[in-house]
């Protein structure tokens, strides 16, 4: 089909007809605040934040559920749009602790600083592990929110108005704190529509509505596969990686390939100093497109395990002793020197890289003169 041309904030943009306006704007570099929309999934229209003005269209339609048409003229940054968005945010924030947004000292602070002020209040920015990398916080800052406004003044805000919901942290990897949930339903959708699992759904109605498992049983007792896709899409601190939530912001992200199965998922290793502090699925992954499984996402701690071999070992009188590389390599070379051809065999590993494998078979064939080289492909 022919492409359509539309205007977004005076920018001329080309797109496929029928694409969601929100997606088209995003690609054109125009940010429209949103909290429920997810790439590659059908639009949901749940958070009501992505309102825009479209010439000739009544009211303020949502960008996520609007399909682009030819000649469409869109404005995303007008006073009525921002007023509506702030109003929507007020309602959303009335369900969410907001000290991380409203503290007057916020601009002076760095992530994970310990705040001595305001310490009579239990909900401070420093008590939320998502502080400074929180999507809700970012949207809130973008819209210039100052607290929950009229709801706060009317005493209808989160504080005091809600019963505390107990944390669910019975499984080893995912922690659920629905006190911070804004009911965007991203987790429900990713679990059902992307993962085909459906371990959680929106339960109850009205102000009792919340995300939960069937009968509120712990996550790992449902059919949940603990893949962490819900954690990745959560815009707040409701769903967090249990073991790494306080690790803070990484120094760098390194994109690499998962060492477990043959799928070849691309993972992002969050590195701080010489430690991998968190792992997430890389949205750029050719195969996995932002998805991973429990092993790739939560199963890489073995890298830092204290039992890692850190030095060569030589058997002496039945027991291992530590040795230097020179000593160990000299010993192996001199012992292997006694064997040639069929007396020698090399067993490669399908965990190693192509380069490791290539060098090992070259070693067996060139240095040892043996084609006895194989690995566990058959297992």
């Amino acid at each position: 089909m022919a492409k359509v041309t539309l205007t977004i904030d005076q920018k001329t943009v080309e797109a496929e007809p029928g694409d969601p306006l929100l997606e088209v704007a995003k690609k054109a570099g125009v940010y429209i605040p949103h909290l429920c929309y997810m790439d590659d999934l059908p639009s949901y229209g749940g958070c009501r934040l992505c309102a825009v003005e479209i010439e000739g269209v009544r009211g303020l339609p949502l960008a996520c559920t609007t399909q682009v048409t030819d000649g469409m003229v869109v404005r995303t940054d007008t006073a009525p749009v921002r007023e509506l968005q702030r109003g929507v945010m007020e309602t959303i924030l009335s369900e969410h602790p907001d000290r991380c947004l409203t503290c007057h000292r916020k601009i002076h602070c760095l992530p994970n600083w310990i705040c001595l002020r305001d310490d009579v209040v239990t909900d401070r920015c420093v008590t939320c592990a998502k502080n400074q990398w929180c999507e809700l916080q970012q949207v809130s800052e973008f819209l210039g929110m100052e607290g929950t406004g009229r709801f706060y003044e009317e005493g209808r805000s989160w504080y005091g108005a809600r019963e505390e919901i107990p944390l669910e942290r019975e499984n080893p990897f995912i922690e659920r704190d629905y006190n911070k949930c804004i009911l965007c339903a991203r987790c429900v959708r990713v679990c059902d529509e992307v993962r085909g699992v459906g371990a959680i759904s929106v339960t109850y109605k009205g102000d009792k509505a919340r995300i939960d498992t069937p009968f509120g049983i712990p996550l790992h007792e449902t059919n949940c596969e603990l893949c962490g896709a819900c954690v990745d899409v959560c815009p707040t601190a409701s769903l967090m990686d249990k073991t790494t939530k306080w690790a803070g912001l990484p120094d760098k992200l390194v994109s690499t390939i998962c060492p477990y199965c043959g799928t070849g998922c691309q993972l992002l290793l969050h590195v701080k100093g010489e430690r991998i502090v968190r792992v997430s699925a890389d949205a750029e992954g050719a195969v996995n497109k932002g998805q991973a499984c429990v092993k790739g996402r939560y199963g890489l701690d073995f890298v830092h395990h204290p039992e890692r071999l850190t030095t060569p070992l030589i058997r002496d009188n039945g027991a291992f002793r530590e040795a230097s590389w020179d000593e160990a390599l000299d010993l192996v070379a001199s012992r292997l020197g006694d064997y040639r051809g069929e007396e020698f065999a090399a067993i490669a590993s399908s965990k190693c890289t192509n380069e490791d494998c290539y060098i090992l078979q070259k070693f067996a064939r060139v240095v040892m003169g043996s084609n006895n080289v194989d690995h566990c492909a058959r297992l």
Partner: protein, 539 residues
């Protein structure tokens, strides 16, 4: 792999992972995809969600059955009969793609003749499936606009694994489901780089890119490139290496990153073989059960501590990047091997960076000819990628098969080696689970994964459990002709009557003490999915 190589000329996944989601029909046989390849399973579920037809053929109930249009619960080891029966229906009902067969394939008459033995009465008897179900599955597969076959170790780890694979390849060719989107024959490889380690020539009979060591012309090329004369005699396969170590013909082994004492069939035999070696050097990141037997242990760097590439199951070569420095005094595997080569006076082993190794691989390997690190930055490339501007190949055999014409192989059903009898009345199947990997050398060192599953369970059908007086959680002893293990029982309806299921993840319960080492005559893959056992409650 050997099966596909005979039929198509190439043993790899014919299509791509993303491509599976586009299929109109998928036959998933011998794969518990959600447990062993969870992210590939997403594509199968997406396909079913979009209205595609998912046929699951598996003796065990697996999570994928929830999304399936049909679940065929064939008896363990009866896959060839099932596929033969489906092909018979397709031929008899005129659903075969005769144009494709005529233009692209050869030896069809031999296949057709062999199908005479696969009357639905007989097939139904062997597989335990109602005739109507086999007919329906055949029609579903043959009449879909595109149909893909997905399989894993459930097909290959059998004494007739090559027959299984060839039958699947025949089925795909019979219906023209090769060389187009959403189709193909797609083996899912187990390890992150099992495809790559095969591509790299870590096999006894081939150099990189499956170039035969016995072929004089090929050997000359490698001799010229490596500057030595090379041994023309194909070497021993893994199982044969251990047998030879047992006999004393193999005297020294350099073993990298494997744990055969846990993962190989008939584990006691392997351990004995390794103990008889004059010299064993093991290179690993942990002191594995196998490393404990070594004379020298060399500490390797993990995937996060080195640069390199992995080749995934869809032939995609992707970049592995260094995130942290090698832990302690560990070193990348390639570096260690290079040091040994230099100490043994070898030439041609001076590399500064793995990128140089990849350049050498590209020079010697047609399918990797266009691979270079700078081209692999964004998403990698799928082989064959023969030249520096080639975009890679997502679907194999588009115009012609790698070997020219697709070769139909006649099908013949053979039973598994060790049939249940009075003394050992049950069938033991082994496999994987989501939360652990292989010998769990890695996963049991992850606290959370260990918390979720820390010990082996033998799964038993409720009927069998009742008749044997076994309750969920009881300690039971599983015995085969080769050994016995004690393990807790899990009563599970998903396990078919007459069968048991165990994983091989836990070193405290060495499942492979039970399994039998009988191998497929062609691929040499051991029959890990089928051995006769008995089970009794421990008093």
């Amino acid at each position: 792999m050997a099966g596909l190589a005979t039929t198509f000329g190439s043993g790899a996944m014919t299509n791509s992972i993303a491509d599976l989601g586009q299929a109109a029909c998928i036959l998933a046989i011998g794969t518990n995809t959600t447990e062993a390849h969870p992210v590939i399973a997403l594509q199968l579920k997406q396909m079913a969600r979009r209205g595609g037809k998912l046929i699951v053929a598996n003796p065990h109930w697996i999570e994928l059955c929830r999304h399936a249009t049909m679940w065929l619960r064939q008896r363990p080891g009866s896959d060839v009969a099932l596929i033969g029966g489906m092909m018979r229906v397709i031929v008899d009902e005129g659903l075969a793609d005769s144009n494709f067969i005529q233009e692209r394939c050869e030896n069809f008459d031999a296949l057709r003749e062999s199908l005479a033995a696969f009357s639905l009465e007989r097939v139904s008897q062997i597989t335990g499936l109602p005739q109507e179900q086999i007919r329906e599955a055949a029609r579903l597969y043959a009449t879909s606009s595109s149909a893909a076959i997905v399989y894993a170790m459930g097909i290959t780890q059998s004494s007739h694994g090559t027959d299984n694979v060839q039958a699947l390849a025949d089925l795909a060719m019979l219906t023209g489901n090769i060389g187009k989107p959403g189709s193909g024959v797609n083996p899912l490889r187990g390890h992150n780089n099992v495809q790559g380690s095969c591509d790299m020539g870590c096999l006894p009979n081939v150099f990189t890119g499956y170039q035969s060591v016995a072929d004089g012309g090929i050997r000359e090329r490698f001799e010229a490139a490596w500057g030595v004369s090379l041994n023309p005699k194909p070497g021993l396969t893994l199982g044969e290496i251990f047998d030879a170590a047992h006999d004393g013909t193999v005297k020294a082994i350099y073993l990298v990153g494997e744990n055969p004492v846990i993962t190989d069939p008939n584990a006691a035999h392997i351990e004995e073989a390794l103990k008889r070696l004059e010299f064993l050097v093991v290179q690993d990141i942990f002191l594995s059960e196998t490393a404990r037997l070594a004379h020298v242990v060399l500490p390797a760097a993990s995937f996060a501590e080195k640069e390199g590439t992995f080749t995934n199951t869809e032939r995609r070569v992707q970049r592995v990047r260094q995130a942290i420095s090698p832990v302690g005094n560990s070193r990348p595997d390639w570096w260690i091997t290079v040091q040994l080569a230099m100490r043994l006076g070898a030439q041609g082993f001076s590399y500064e960076h793995p990128a140089e190794i990849m350049d050498e691989i590209a020079r010697l390997t047609a399918s990797y000819g266009g691979m270079a690190y700078h081209r692999l930055e964004n998403g990698g490339l799928q082989w064959p990628c023969p030249s520096p501007n080639h975009p890679g190949t997502s679907i194999l055999h588009r115009e012609a098969f790698t070997r020219g014409k697709g070769h139909f192989v006649p099908v013949e059903y053979r039973g598994s080696l060790e049939q249940p009898d009075e003394e050992y009345p049950l069938i033991l199947n082994t496999g994987r689970m989501l939360y652990h990997f292989h010998s769990s050398t890695l996963t049991r060192r992850v606290k959370g994964l260990r918390e979720l599953h820390s010990e082996e369970r033998v799964e038993i059908n409720p009927q069998d459990a009742v008749s044997l007086g076994i309750a969920d959680g009881d300690l039971v002893k599983v015995t085969s002709r080769r050994g016995a293990v004690t393990v807790r029982a899990k009563v599970a309806e998903g396990t078919p009557p007459g069968s048991l299921f165990m994983t091989f993840h836990f070193p405290d319960t060495v499942t492979n003490l039970l399994t039998q080492p009988g191998r497929d005559p062609v691929s040499k893959i051991p029959e890990l999915k089928f051995c006769a056992v008995r089970v009794a409650k421990v008093a």
